[in-house]
């Protein structure tokens, strides 16, 4: 079996309600609604894969993570995680998975230092003392926790706490780790440290990671992306596929020997920034093919240039715009 996770046609709906405004509206104007959190989701995750699960708020990512961890029960469809049914085999499954729920549902005990939670996890998973110490040393070194993990949790910064939460999810060397918006509000050095730890653990143990995030930097090194919208999978593939599908432009930076007027370059594309002897502009790929780029460079005042791929954020934004356009055409509404 090469798959760590197999999800087939999973549906999950929640009962919710809306009320009218005012006291009377709250009492008598209640309308029950069914919110479709997952609408026939299917995909697979290979063992050892690092997969980013993306989507806007309310797209169904967190619901899916909770289904994978056995916390929620699917209305229909089938989920297999490490060959087990997450809901019915929860206790057996969670022996082999780790979950980081961001700062919303921490594992760390607020009034105790992280080392107490780590020791609790050692007991919970019956990790032999020598292996526990080796693992702890590894994480302390990798995530720079030396001056952190013996201090009371309530005294730690969010970034420090999240690094410790990451340790909580990985101390028992799980086969699969689910990270649900684990880097929200976390500072850059901590985010980078966690990102490097993910790759290191994958290399060391072959751990599979599912990462849900809104922080684009977090997905720079993932193997594959699954994008969700309105409870459905709307894109599945590698970053290269995302680029080829949603790349609308390239970014060109021009350096001049003298001050230039940006209006002279407006015909080639959209000028993003103009600063005397420097112009940054966005150009559609077909304009490059039509030799407009070569024509631009013929100007003797151009002393240097740089052609950049659009950022991941820009690509994602293009994806969301394309999805919105399609939803509008199909008449897809929230819930």
């Amino acid at each position: 079996m090469d798959n760590a996770i197999t999800i087939e046609n999973v549906f999950k709906r929640f009962k919710t309600y809306e009320t009218d405004t005012g006291a009377a509206g709250t009492l008598f104007g209640r309308k029950n609604k069914i919110k479709t959190a997952l609408d026939g989701v299917s995909f697979e995750v290979k063992k050892g894969e690092v997969l980013a699960l993306l989507g806007r708020n309310g797209s169904g990512k967190s619901t899916l993570v909770k289904l994978l961890a056995g916390i929620l029960h699917p209305d229909s469809g089938s989920i297999k995680v490490l060959g087990l049914d997450p809901f019915n085999d929860r206790i057996m499954l969670v022996q082999n998975i780790g979950v980081v729920f961001g700062s919303t549902h921490p594992q760390l005990f607020w009034d105790l230092p992280p080392i107490d939670t780590f020791n609790y996890i050692r007991g919970m998973y019956a990790i032999p003392q020598d292996r526990f110490e080796r693992q702890l040393d590894y994480f302390v070194e990798m995530l720079s926790l030396k001056d952190i993990y013996k201090r009371q949790t309530r005294q730690l910064s969010l970034g420090e706490r999240m690094k410790c939460e990451f340790v909580c999810a990985n101390l028992h060397s799980p086969k699969l780790v689910l990270m649900d918006e684990a880097t929200v509000g976390v500072d850059l050095p901590s985010r980078i440290a966690i990102g490097e730890a993910v790759l290191s653990l994958r290399k060391r143990y072959g751990t599979t990671f599912i990462i849900t995030t809104h922080v684009v930097d977090d997905i720079a090194n993932v193997d594959r992306i699954v994008l969700m919208d309105h409870g459905r999978v709307v894109f599945e593939g590698q970053q290269e596929k995302m680029r080829s599908m949603f790349k609308k432009s390239v970014i060109i930076e021009l350096y001049f020997s003298k001050k230039m007027r940006s209006s002279a370059y407006a015909k080639y594309g959209r000028v993003i920034l103009s600063r005397g002897d420097y112009i940054k502009m966005e150009m559609a790929p077909h304009m490059i093919k039509r030799n407009w780029f070569t024509e631009m460079l013929k100007d003797d005042s151009v002393i240097d240039y740089r052609v950049n791929e659009p950022s991941l954020s820009a690509l994602l934004n293009n994806m969301y715009k394309a999805i919105d356009k399609e939803n509008k055409t199909k008449g897809v509404k929230d819930g």
């Binding site: 919710t16 916390i71 729920f101 549902h105 609790y120 998973y125």
Partner: protein, 268 residues
């Protein structure tokens, strides 16, 4: 499958340490629980004084005071279960997720979360008070009676917490279970003999209540140690009480098995 009892032992250990972070809260809680029972002592002192008699329905004032101090001591560990508040928060705020990712039963984790406080209450709150009552009330207490009393306290503890667990489960469907919890607590107090000893009620009402789990919460344990309930009845009660706990445990298991499918933890 799993690591047997080890995860639960680890959970108990860390919860104990965690609860000790709130020492002042625990001490204040202990004092307030005792004070609430002392109110009944004053009420009964007034009642005896007003009636001008030394015995009501065969119970002397000393015995009555001892009874309510004993009820206060029992409340220290059975109390109104923290389990309800914890469950409501877990279900409403989504914190249940952090329990469900551990290789342990959620029910057991809830019990273990509350148990350290219960033990502290028992050791530092209940035991000293019970000893004082026995010594100053000149009650004759055998080891056998103490053993039965301890088992009855455990029955009361599990009974109240299992019912609390089922009420807490309702948080999946209700906006708040606070009202139900308070209502049920009043029923426990009245029907359990925490406000009036059941011996004071009419024979018919008392006999009917004895068929329910409520007397096992306060009346039977307190009555057993103070000799209000004969030893033979107390022994019989232990068997019936264990049966009630088993029934409630099966019921709680069934309820949770149904309710957990409807947990609605939307969003992050």
């Amino acid at each position: 499958m799993g690591n047997g009892i080890q995860p639960y032992a680890a959970a108990f250990k860390v919860q104990f340490k965690n609860q000790l972070a709130y020492r002042t809260d625990i001490i204040l809680d202990m004092i307030l629980t005792m004070l609430s029972s002392l109110i009944f002592v004053f009420v009964w002192v007034a009642a005896y004084s007003f009636s001008g008699t030394t015995s009501l329905d065969g119970l002397s004032l000393t015995l009555m005071i001892a009874y309510f101090v004993m009820v206060g001591a029992i409340r220290q560990i059975t109390g109104w279960p923290q389990i309800i508040n914890n469950m409501e928060d877990d279900i409403k705020q989504g914190g249940i997720a952090r329990f469900m990712i551990r290789p342990m039963s959620y029910t057991m984790q809830l019990f273990l979360e509350a148990l350290p406080v219960n033990i502290l209450f028992f050791v530092f709150g209940s035991i000293p008070v019970i000893v004082l009552v026995i010594v100053f009330g000149h009650f004759v207490v055998s080891y056998q009676l103490i053993a039965i009393f301890v088992v009855e306290m455990l029955i009361a503890y599990f009974m109240i917490n299992l019912i609390g667990f089922m009420i807490g489960s309702m948080a999946v469907y209700l906006s708040s279970v606070w009202g139900i919890a308070n209502g049920v607590a009043e029923v426990f107090s009245i029907a359990g003999g925490a406000i009036v000893p059941l011996a004071f009620l009419s024979q018919g009402v008392a006999n009917t209540l004895m068929l329910t789990p409520f007397p096992f919460m306060y009346y039977i344990p307190a009555g057993t140690l103070l000799g209000i309930i004969p030893m033979s009845t107390a022994l019989q009660s232990v068997a019936v009480g264990i049966a009630w706990v088993a029934v409630l445990a099966v019921l709680a298991h069934f309820v949770w098995g149904r309710v957990k499918r409807d947990i609605n933890a939307v969003g992050g």
